[in-house]
Symmetry: C2
C-alpha cells in the first residue's frame, strides 16, 4: 500500500508514530513560516504541517502543490495545539518529512466542497469530480449498505438471489423496450428487460420458492426529472403465499432497513384500499405524515345557486389548520398554484373561519353564514382554520386537490423528512381504461390476478374487477408494488383477451409462460421495489440522480462519456442495419 493509514484514522493514540498518507489536497494555507495542507481520502481529512525553519526545501515544495493534487506524505503524528473537534483526526497533525506528488491536477472546474459552485451540466460532465464531494460519497455508501442489508435480510428468510437474463424478448405490453440487434441471428433483436417479471414467475414454476434479485432494468420512456432509462429494482417472488404473507415479509424488509441503516424503529404499516386512498387523499400514494383528509361537500354545497359547484361531479376540500389569517395575496398564490397546467384546476374556493366565529369566503355571494358553518363542521374546523375547496370532474379534481394538500403540507412544514409513515395501498383495480387506445390496460401488469370474488365480472364489467395488487408507499413516495399472480393458463388467456390480445398474439409473446403453467405452477406472488427511490428516501432527498453513480440526463445522455453516439458503418453492416433519418 502507498500508505500506512487512511486520512480518517489517526488520533491521539498514534502520537509519535511515523506514518505515510496518500490522498488529495483539499486545501493548503501558507502562513509564512508554516504551510498547512489538508489531505483527503474517502475516509477523512488529516492536517499536514511543513515548517520553513525545519525543512525549507520541503516547505517550498509543499507550497507549489495545488488543490486536488494527489500526494503521498510521510512524517510523524503530533498533537495539535489548536484542536479541531469537528473532524475525527482533529486532535493530531503530521509533521511531514517527505513528500511526493503522485499525480498533479489542473484546477477543477468547480469546488470540491459540500456545497459546490458548479452548475448541473458541468457537474454531470465532470461526474468523477462531483463524486468526490462528501454528500455524494455518503449517498454511494448508503446505497452500498442498503443493498447489503437487503440481501442479508432476504437470505435469512431463505430467498435465493438468482440472476435472470438481460438479453430477452421484446413485448409490446407496457412501456417501450430498448432493443439489441443480434448479429448472429440476422434481422432479429433481443430486448432489455423492463423487469424480470416472466423469469421470476418461471423460477416459481421451477420450484425455487423464494427468489430475489437486485437488478438493473430498462425503460425507453421520455424522461422526467425523476426517471432514468436504467434503474435498479429489488425484485422478489414467493410461492405458496397469500397477499398477507408477502406484505408481512416486505414490511419486515423495510423495518430491517430502517433499523440497520438509519437506526429508526418505524411503526407498523397501515393498510388502505385504493378506493379510500383516492377518496380521502386523491392519490394512490398518500403522504400520511399529516392528515388534511379530503371532505366531500356535494350534499351541502350543491343546489344552492352557485353554478360552478352545481355543474361539478365533485366538490371537495381540505382544512388547512391555522391558516385562517392568510392574506389576499397568499390566497391568490394558492389559486395560481392550482391553476398551473400540471395541476389543472379551474379555480379555488376558500372559507376562512374567523377568530370571532364568523366566516369569510370567496363565494359569500352564494352561501350564507349558516351554510358556510355547515361546511366547516364537516371538517371539524375551528376558528383560525382555512377551508380550501376545488370542484369539477371527479378524477381531475381529486388529483388537483391532492397536489394542493401536499403544497399546504410543505407550507405548514408537516412533511418532516425524519418521520416515516409507511403504508400498503391494497385492492387496486385490475384494469384501467385507456382513452388513446380505447381499450383496457393492466393497471400493474397482465400477470396480476383478479380477486376471486370479482372474476365473474372480467367480461361483464372489467373496470370493476379488483386485483390482488398492492403498493408500498412511504411518505407519499411509491417505493414499489406487486401482486399475487395468475398461475392458471385459462385465466391468463382470459386476461390477455380482456387486454385486446388475439390468441395468436398472446401465444407468440407469452406462450412460454402460459405453457409453463401447464406443468404444475404453484400459486405465487411477489413485489418489486424501486431501489433508487428507496435509497433517495433514506437519504432524505427527492432526486434519485444523486444516488446513482453515473446517471443520465433528461435526454437519456451520459454527458461524461458522451453517449449515445454514432457507431461505425462496419458495425451497422455486420448487424444488417441501416440508419434512416
Amino acid at each position: 500500500m502507498l500508505r500506512t493509514h487512511t486520512c480518517g484514522e489517526l488520533n491521539i493514540k498514534h502520537i509519535g508514530q511515523e506514518v505515510t498518507l496518500s490522498g488529495w489536497v483539499q486545501k493548503s494555507r501558507d502562513l509564512g513560516g508554516m504551510t498547512f495542507i489538508d489531505i483527503r481520502d474517502r475516509y477523512g481529512i488529516t492536517q499536514l504541517v511543513f515548517n520553513m525553519e525545519m525543512n525549507k526545501s520541503l516547505c517550498e515544495q509543499a507550497r507549489k502543490i495545488g488543490r486536488e493534487f494527489v500526494i503521498q506524505a510521510s512524517g510523524k503524528v503530533t498533537e495539535r495545539s489548536n484542536k479541531n473537534p469537528k473532524i475525527l483526526t482533529g486532535e493530531i497533525e503530521i509533521i511531514v518529512d517527505s513528500l511526493e506528488v503522485l499525480s498533479p491536477s489542473k484546477t477543477p472546474p468547480f469546488t470540491i466542497e459540500d456545497k459546490s459552485d458548479g452548475g448541473d451540466e458541468l457537474r454531470m460532465k465532470f461526474r468523477y469530480l462531483d463524486l468526490r464531494r462528501n454528500p455524494l460519497k455518503k449517498n454511494m455508501q448508503l446505497r452500498h449498505k442498503m443493498a447489503l442489508e437487503t440481501r442479508s435480510y432476504l437470505d435469512s428468510l431463505g430467498f435465493f438471489e438468482i440472476e435472470t437474463p438481460f438479453l430477452i424478448k421484446s413485448t409490446p405490453e407496457g412501456a417501450r423496450d430498448f432493443v439489441v440487434p443480434s448479429r448472429m441471428n440476422e434481422g432479429q433483436f433481443y430486448a432489455l428487460p423492463q423487469s424480470p417479471q416472466t423469469f421470476k414467475q418461471l423460477l416459481m414454476v421451477a420450484g425455487y420458492d423464494r427468489y430475489f434479485q437486485i437488478v438493473r432494468c430498462f425503460r425507453d420512456e421520455d424522461l422526467r426529472a425523476d426517471r432514468q432509462p436504467e434503474f435498479t429494482l429489488i425484485d422478489c417472488e414467493m410461492s405458496f403465499v397469500t397477499q398477507e404473507d408477502i406484505l408481512t415479509t416486505f414490511e419486515g424488509l423495510a423495518k430491517h432497513l430502517f433499523k440497520k441503516v438509519k437506526g429508526v424503529e418505524i411503526e407498523d404499516f397501515s393498510w388502505m384500499p385504493y378506493s379510500e386512498a383516492m377518496k380521502y387523499y386523491g392519490s394512490d400514494k398518500p403522504d400520511l405524515r399529516f392528515g388534511m383528509k379530503f371532505v366531500e361537500l356535494n350534499d351541502v354545497a350543491q343546489n344552492k345557486g352557485f353554478k360552478v359547484f352545481d355543474d361539478s361531479e365533485l366538490v371537495v376540500g381540505i382544512n388547512a389548520k391555522g391558516c385562517g389569517n392568510y392574506s389576499r395575496k397568499q390566497l391568490d398564490k394558492l389559486t395560481d398554484f392550482v391553476r398551473k397546467p400540471q395541476i389543472g384546476a379551474k379555480g379555488l374556493v376558500y372559507v376562512k373561519y374567523n377568530e370571532d366565529g364568523s366566516f369569510k369566503s370567496s363565494v359569500d355571494k352564494f352561501f350564507d353564514q349558516e351554510v358556510l358553518k355547515s361546511w366547516t363542521e364537516k371538517f371539524g374546523a375551528k376558528p383560525g382554520d382555512l377551508i380550501l375547496i376545488i370542484s369539477g370532474d371527479k378524477d381531475k379534481t381529486r388529483k388537483a386537490l391532492s397536489e394542493l394538500r401536499l403544497e399546504m403540507g410543505n407550507r405548514l412544514e408537516l412533511r418532516n423528512p425524519n418521520i416515516f409513515k409507511p403504508l400498503w395501498v391494497v385492492d387496486f383495480p385490475l384494469l384501467e381504461w385507456n382513452e388513446d387506445s380505447q381499450r383496457f390496460h393492466a393497471m400493474h401488469h397482465p400477470f396480476t390476478s383478479p380477486k376471486k370474488e370479482d372474476i365473474d365480472k372480467m367480461e361483464s364489467d372489467p373496470g370493476a374487477v379488483r386485483a390482488n395488487a398492492y403498493d408500498m408507499v412511504i411518505n407519499g413516495v411509491e417505493i414499489g408494488g406487486g401482486s399475487i399472480r395468475i398461475h392458471n393458463k385459462d385465466l391468463q388467456k382470459q386476461m390477455f383477451k380482456v387486454l385486446g390480445f388475439t390468441d395468436e398474439e398472446a401465444q407468440n409473446q407469452f406462450g412460454f409462460l402460459m405453457n409453463a403453467f401447464e406443468y404444475g405452477a404453484p400459486p405465487h406472488g411477489g413485489i418489486a421495489l424501486g431501489f433508487d427511490r428507496l435509497v433517495a428516501l433514506f437519504g432524505g432527498s427527492d432526486s434519485i440522480r444523486d444516488y446513482i453513480a453515473f446517471p443520465k440526463n433528461n435526454a437519456g445522455k451520459d454527458m461524461m462519456i458522451d453517449s449515445p453516439s454514432e457507431i461505425s458503418e462496419e458495425q451497422l453492416d455486420e448487424l444488417k442495419l441501416k440508419v434512416v433519418l
Copy 2:
C-alpha cells in the same frame, strides 16, 4: 402461507402434529389398499399416505394425481415403520386427511430426476422443468451463497459495491459490442459493457478507494461451448496499491470462499511468471494439480541427423510416469490426439524406458541407446516411464504439448476435482502481435500499465515490454485477471499510439478517461473474476451453463422464450432503423 411446514423439515419431533404441506408430486405408488405420494419442494421430499380403508374417496382422489401436479395436503405426522435414512424426513410420513390440487400438470417431456432422460435441446426449451432437478437447484444455491460470501468479504475490507451504467459507449478495441439504438437521440447508439473498466477507474479518480460489483457484462462473440453472450463478473478496483496488495486481497477472497462455501482450507497461491508458465507448461493457465513439466531437448536431440527435429524451433517433451507399458494402439491414439486440427501437432515421438533399463523409441533409427538415455535423464525418468515429445514452431508446439499434458493428466487421473491448486500468473507481456491486423494488441486491455523498468522499450521493442498484469488460475482454469492501471495521461496516450490509434481516435473514444487523469488520478489497479466459471469450478464442473439459470445456446438463442426475434415495423420506425438482409 399455503403450508405450515416445508417438505424438508418434518422429523420425529413433529409426530402427532397436524400439518399442511404444498409441493409437487415427485412420484406416487398405488399398493392396492394404500397409496403413497412423495411431495417435493425446494427443501425436500415428504411421504404422504392415503389409506383405502380409512378414507376411500380421498384415496381414490389421490390415485388420480399425476407426476408434477402441485398439491396441498393436510394430515397428521406419523412415525414410519419403514424408515428411509437417505432423506431428512425419512423417519416420518403424513397420514393425509385433506387434499387439494392447486395446479394440474401435463406429463413432463423428460423425467425430473437427478439424471434426466431429456436431451440438451429439450431441456433448454423447458428450462423451468430442468431447473426443478436437484443438481441444478444445488448449483443455483451454490451461486447465491458464493455471491453473498463475496459481498460479505469485500464489504468487511471496506469495498463499496457501486453500480455502473449498462447503457454506455461503443469502442472498437477488444471484442465486439452489443449496441442499443437510442430513440431519443436519432441515429445514435449505446453499447452494453464488456466490463465496467473505465467506470471503475473513474471511481478511483473520484476517490472511492475500494470498489466492487457483481455485474453482468456482454460480448458479441461467436460462441464456444463455455462462453455466453452475457456473463457475470466480480469486478474490483483499489487505489494506492501495489500489485502485491491486490493479489493478497483476492487470494484472501478465494480462501474465504473455499472455506465458507466448501469448508476447504486451500494452500497459499503460487506465483509464476508468464514466461515460466509458457516454458514449463505451454500455457498461461497451467494446471498445477500434477507435475509433468516440459523438458526442452534441443541440445540433446538436434544435429543428430533426424531432420524433423533439426528443422524445429523447439523440441520438447513430458514424462508420463508409469506409462512405459503403453501398447502400440494406445500410442497411436495419442498420436491421433495431437494431430487433431484443434491441437495441431504434426506427430508425436515417444521413448519408452523399459523395466530392463533399455529404451524403445519411435525414432530408434536416428538415436542410439546412449542418446535416448541422456534424454530420459533430463526428465529424471525411471524404468516404466514414457517420454512424449513434440517438435516444431515454438508457440504451436508448446500449445500442443500443453493439451497432451492435460490429456495425460486426465488418463492418469491426476486432475482430482476435489483438490485445488491456486496460482497467480504474473509478468504478462503488455502487448501481443496480431497477424491479421498487422499491429500490436493489448494482451489484457489498453489501460494496463507497463512495468516501470520496461517503459523505455515501448517504442523501440514493444513486444518485450512486460505489464503489471496478473491472472488468477485454479486447476488450469483462468478465473480472472487484472492489472495495475495507467493513471497518467501521457503514458495512456503513448499506449494508444502503440496500439495504432490516432490522437483523435484516442481522444474521441477515451478522452473522458484521459481528461479525468488530469484532475488528480491516484495510482490504482484491480481485477475481474469470471463469476460463472468460479461457481462452476466450485461445483466441480466445466460447464458454466449448468450454473446459469437461463443460459443461451451456442447460437446465442434463448430456446425457452424464443429470443432473439423480429420486432415490429413500428419499433424499427421509431428507432429510425431499417433491416437490410
